[in-house]
């Protein structure tokens, strides 16, 4: 029986598709009598099925050889593409984790979107979302992963644009799609090039191809850079990081997934592509550089946000930056652990603020406060989530960081880790103080604790996050990432790594506690401080920079092409037409009716033609 589930694991992504299709009668308005809730139930049932199936398959794979299911897809001329599924503990475990988080988010959504009229559409999109995520976890083919990433892009667009009547949502959905699309298009260039250079497009074929290092350094670098671009967009890394922040306008249950598993999906593809980056040292360096810049930059940006969701979303980018650094250093296993450790904690954070947003109808930090006593469960969940995503507890993140520092081959990640950890602790403490402590505000005065449909997933996820260290110990995950202790490992890092991490967390926490926070007049009056605050709140003005460069340039070029079309091309055409008409008009005066004139004209014309024909150089 277990074998059956294992061999049928290719069906895991399809549950979501089936669920999405089954919502159509409700979302298209064919069934009105029942309301839209059944569509949600159908999808939740499908997710439960994925979870059960995933767990059974994961159990069956333990102690067995990993294998692949390869299905030829398109075989034309010299092109031979196949779709491959990776049946391995990591893939199945990843799929199960995704299913678990999807289930929690979907149940949470029942409570969060209690009064939503288009519940069917939302759950249909969530079904697609889940299908793509599970698929990426299982995919062993770059082409399939690319397709699923695009499906994610599309469903992100539609989910962010769920409340399409609001103006901010419209631009957010558009920007999310286009930003990711920029990354995806560059990734597509890389895929086309890879395929043209003779590599197959499954990850195993890619690895074999890369091992033979068939292309020159320059080409390899370009290839590597183009392959990086896709994940850069998906993981909201600099310079394609803006969409994640904007897309926080969408419904919260989707934000939970977006910040925990969707960004991880992009990073997972990056991890699978790691062998190709080995071809080019520059590509690997660029990965580290992008990761570092994003990690520190976005960590700083979180400090000045006044939108609670946006503050958290920037910290997602920061964490993904660390994953980029890990992949750039070739530490794939650390990267996987980071994804695992981060996903739970971040999902929990987003879930807890979901309750706050629903019950106070506000996500503006200056309007919140004093919720600790009113929403104790939510507050507790937030604390656990915050601790789980920094090094305050023996959290999964702490264990991974420590492992990384102690066994890393060089010291470079240590500085970044300490800075990111410090800033994360600082920012989360600031958020906690602003939301849960302090005086009660108008909007928080009557806020109740979340309803049970939201409380159940919230509490479950809190427990799961608390159990994270147990999971590390139980499955011996750190041994799963056996980094040979390099001879040149920095002794400082090895000895004091853990202490330094805890210290940085504590400093961040302490700074967060003493940081002066005012709700009224959140924007400082001191010019220097105010400048810094504005700079960070506006994300270093990168968006404005894009607006006056890229967006402006595209608009100008398109305006120019239209002008060219209308005035030059069409102008010429119309001028020719006009000239023909006018010359016809003019010529009619020359028709005098005298046959001699006609004969003369014909003679002269023929003569000219003959002369031209004779004297033609050919």
């Amino acid at each position: 029986m277990a074998d059956f589930f294992l061999h049928a694991c290719w069906f895991l992504p399809l549950y979501g598709v089936v669920g999405a299709l089954l919502t159509l009668p409700w979302s298209s308005g064919l069934i009105r009598k029942t309301g839209q809730r059944p569509a949600a139930y159908v999808n939740i049932l499908m997710t439960v099925l994925v979870l059960v199936h995933g767990v059974l398959a994961s159990q069956a794979i333990v102690g067995r050889e990993a294998y692949r299911i390869v299905v030829p897809w398109l075989r034309v001329a010299d092109l031979d593409l196949s779709v491959a599924i990776d049946v391995s503990p990591v893939a199945l475990g990843g799929a199960t984790l995704v299913a678990l988080l999807c289930l929690l988010a979907q149940v949470f959504g029942l409570g969060y979107l209690e009064k939503e009229a288009s519940l069917g559409r939302f759950y249909g999109l969530m079904g697609l979302f889940q299908a793509a995520l599970v698929g990426i976890a299982l995919s062993d083919s770059l082409l399939l992963s690319y397709g699923l990433l695009e499906l994610l892009t599309l469903s992100t667009y539609l989910l962010v644009g769920f409340w399409y009547a609001q103006p901010l949502v419209v631009t957010a959905a558009r920007d999310a799609f286009l930003t990711k699309r920029v990354g995806d298009i560059i990734l597509l260039m890389g895929i086309v090039a890879l395929s043209s250079y003779g590599s197959g497009l499954t990850f195993s074929e890619l690895e074999a191809w890369a091992a033979a290092s068939p292309v020159s350094g320059g080409v390899a670098t370009l290839l590597g850079l183009s392959l990086i671009a896709g994940p850069v967009g998906k993981c909201a890394q600099f310079p394609l990081h803006l969409w994640l922040d904007e897309s926080m306008e969408g419904p919260n249950p989707a934000s939970i997934l977006r910040n925990s598993v969707v960004v991880s999906a992009g990073a997972y593809v990056l991890i699978r592509l790691e062998p190709v980056f080995g071809l080019s040292p520059i590509a690997a360096d660029v990965l580290v550089a992008i990761g570092t810049v994003t990690a520190i930059g976005t960590s700083l940006m979180t400090l000045a946000q006044i939108d609670i969701k946006r503050a958290l979303s920037y910290s997602t980018s920061a964490f993904m930056g660390l994953v980029f650094v890990a992949v750039g250093c070739g530490q794939v296993d650390i990267a996987l652990l980071l994804l695992f450790a981060h996903a739970m904690a971040k999902a929990l954070l987003f879930m807890s603020i979901g309750g706050i947003i629903l019950n106070t109808s506000s996500q503006n930090l200056t309007e919140l406060g004093g919720l600790g006593a009113r929403m104790p469960v939510t507050a507790l969940a937030f604390v656990v989530g915050a601790a789980g995503s920094t090094c305050l507890l023996p959290s999964g993140v702490f264990l991974t960081f420590r492992h990384w520092i102690e066994e890393a081959r060089d010291i470079s990640p240590l500085g970044v880790l300490l800075v990111v950890n410090l800033l994360a602790a600082l920012s989360l403490t600031r958020l906690f103080r602003l939301v849960f402590l302090g005086p009660v505000q108008i909007k928080t005065r009557r806020a109740p604790e979340v309803n049970w449909l939201m409380a159940v997933p919230l509490v479950s996820l809190t427990l799961l996050t608390l159990l994270m260290p147990v999971a590390f110990w139980h499955w011996d995950l750190l041994a799963f990432a056996p980094l040979a202790i390099a001879a040149n490992a920095s002794p400082i890092a090895a000895q004091f790594g853990a202490a330094l991490l805890l210290l940085s967390g504590a400093i961040g926490f302490g700074l967060g506690l003493v940081l002066p926070l005012t709700r009224t007049g959140a924007r400082s009056l001191q010019p220097v401080l105010r400048f810094c605050q504005d700079l960070l709140a506006d994300g270093f003005y990168i968006e404005r920079f894009y607006r006056v460069t890229v967006v402006w340039a595209v608009a100008q070029v398109s305006r120019l092409s239209v002008m060219f079309d209308r005035y030059i091309v069409d102008g010429l055409v119309n001028a020719t037409g006009l000239a023909t008409l006018l010359s016809g008009q003019a010529l009619r005066y020359s028709s005098s009716g005298q046959s001699q004139t006609y004969v003369l004209t014909i003679l002269v014309g023929t003569g000219l033609l003959v002369f031209l024909a004779v004297s033609w150089p050919f």
């Binding site: 398109l74 001329a77 092109l79 699923l148 599309l154 043209s196």
Partner: protein, 504 residues
């Protein structure tokens, strides 16, 4: 069989003119729907009889006709023309399906539609140069009337522009055909691969350039394109569907059949220029689309961009490239037909296509949510989202041409990226946002209005997931369509030639 596909529409065109006055437009439309279903079934029957494994021209018919001029009536179908034949049958059915039941002067309209159909089918199956030219010209006249009579406000300008452009295109094609037959001393005008190869390379290039000029107007390639947006904007929805879906394909069909077929050597010489033109077309079309304020014009410019990919693939001239060109023709035919259909519904229900006026149509109660969802799907197919047919075709195009023209291919990939830009602008404006009060009372969309869109949409998904379903028709024949130097000792350009290459 192929003759039936040409002559039944011709007979219908005559017959429909004789239908008595008392038959209403509505009744006539039903009859025409039946007739076009039969013709579509016939096209499918041709596909059924077609032996995909054989590399030869099939269902060949050949009768002496104007022997004095060396023109014969000779038809045949192969892997290049068969998909287009079936596409034409399908889209004619769709076009009649989306014709307004209360049309004015329905007899003349359907008469023109059938003449157009006969011309298109004839051009796709003609195996004689002059016969092709005659059908190519035949299709022009009914289309002129279809635009000029049932069009929008500036219809006469658009129709005349179309007529002049296409007439010039016809002259160029005819002179290239005459040139190649007379110069090569061929006994008659029957089509054979490599007909022009006996000439020196210079006259070959001159003749090919003339031919390409004519075809480039039809495709259209920038800067010979301005007739298309005007024609689309003024034409009614069914005419736009046919124009984008089938008629533009005549140009690219000619490119593959006659450009490569008659002048394979010159093709290899001229191909780099074509690839660059293709990239320019793709980018120019995309940029121009971004700035459009009229939904239909935007789709028209996107057509120009997407036709550029076909040229790119053809210019690459690899086996995969040629196959990709065919795939992209079919994909673009379906996708643009879908988009024009849906834009037509939006325009019909709201009375405008202006992006500055339309808002919030996704509203589930009072808007057009189903049309909106279908447009999202069509737009995604057009911008090459994997899982839909557009991706398969575009991936094949890019993969087929990257090894030959990497820079031009990359430029075209940027073009696909821009497709998402302008279409998202359209969706965001038209479907997102708050539904304004003036659109609070839109007439409901009937099921028969969306059924053909749904059919096309499902085809896009099915072919997107299982592309071999339709590619298998053309696979075996590709090697005969690849441009190459005919004499084996003169091989200059390394072109992938498969081992089962038939001897010519």
């Amino acid at each position: 069989m192929l003759s039936a596909l040409i002559f039944i529409p011709l007979l219908l065109a005559v017959a429909v003119g004789l239908v008595p006055e008392r038959v209403t437009a509505r009744g006539l439309r039903v009859a025409m729907l039946v007739a076009s279903s039969v013709l579509f079934a016939l096209a499918l029957a041709v596909a059924w009889q077609f032996d995909a494994a054989s590399g030869a021209m099939q269902l060949v018919e050949r009768r002496p006709w104007l022997e004095l001029l060396g023109v014969s009536y000779s038809l045949g179908v192969d892997g290049l023309s068969l998909p287009l034949l079936v596409l034409n049958g399908f889209l004619t059915l769709v076009a009649i399906g989306c014709t307004s039941p209360t049309l004015e002067r329905p007899r003349l309209y359907y008469c023109m539609l059938w003449l157009l159909n006969a011309g298109v089918v004839g051009a796709f199956v003609a195996q004689d140069l002059i016969l092709f030219f005659l059908f190519y010209e035949l299709e022009l006249i009914p289309l002129y009337f279809l635009i000029a009579i049932w069009g929008g406000a500036r219809r006469s300008y658009a129709a005349t522009k179309f007529l002049l452009y296409t007439a010039i295109s016809g002259v160029a094609i005819l002179s290239a055909f005459l040139g190649v037959v007379w110069l090569s001393g061929a006994p008659d005008f029957s089509y054979s691969v490599g007909l022009g190869s006996s000439l020196a390379i210079e006259p070959q290039i001159v003749l090919l350039a003339t031919l390409l000029f004519g075809l480039a107007i039809k495709i259209p390639i920038v800067p010979l394109h301005t007739w298309l947006p005007d024609a689309h904007v003024e034409a009614s929805t069914p005419v736009s569907v046919l124009l984008a879906g089938v008629l533009l394909k005549l140009g690219t069909y000619g490119l593959l059949r006659f450009g490569i077929g008659l002048f394979p050597e010159a093709w290899l010489e001229i191909a780099p220029v074509l690839a660059t033109l293709a990239a320019i077309s793709a980018l120019y079309g995309a940029f121009a689309a971004i700035a459009q304020q009229d939904m239909k014009k935007m789709v028209a410019y996107s057509s120009i961009a997407h036709m550029g990919y076909i040229l790119l693939a053809a210019a690459a001239g690899t086996e995969l490239g040629i196959l990709a060109a065919i795939a992209q023709m079919v994909a673009h035919g379906l996708i643009s037909a879908l988009l024009f259909l849906l834009v037509g519904i939006v325009a019909k229900k709201t009375g405008t296509r202006d992006l500055n006026v339309l808002r919030g149509l996704l509203n589930p109660q009072r808007g057009l949510p189903i049309v909106g969802s279908l447009i999202v799907l069509g737009v995604m197919a057009s911008s090459g989202l994997p899982g839909l047919m557009g991706f398969v075709a575009e991936f094949m195009v890019f993969r087929g041409s990257f090894s030959v023209y990497p820079l031009q291919t990359l430029a075209c990939i940027v073009g696909t990226g821009l497709t998402a830009v302008y279409f998202l602008l359209m969706i965001n404006r038209v479907f997102f946002g708050r539904l304004p009060d003036r659109f609070g009372n839109l007439p409901p969309v009937q099921w028969h209005e969306t059924i053909s869109s749904m059919a096309i949409a499902s085809l896009l998904v099915v072919y997107g997931l299982m592309p071999s379903l339709f590619l298998d028709w053309s696979q075996a024949q590709i090697s005969t369509l690849v441009p190459r130097v005919i004499a084996p000792q003169e091989v200059i350009v390394p072109v992938a030639i498969s081992p089962n290459q038939s001897d010519l």
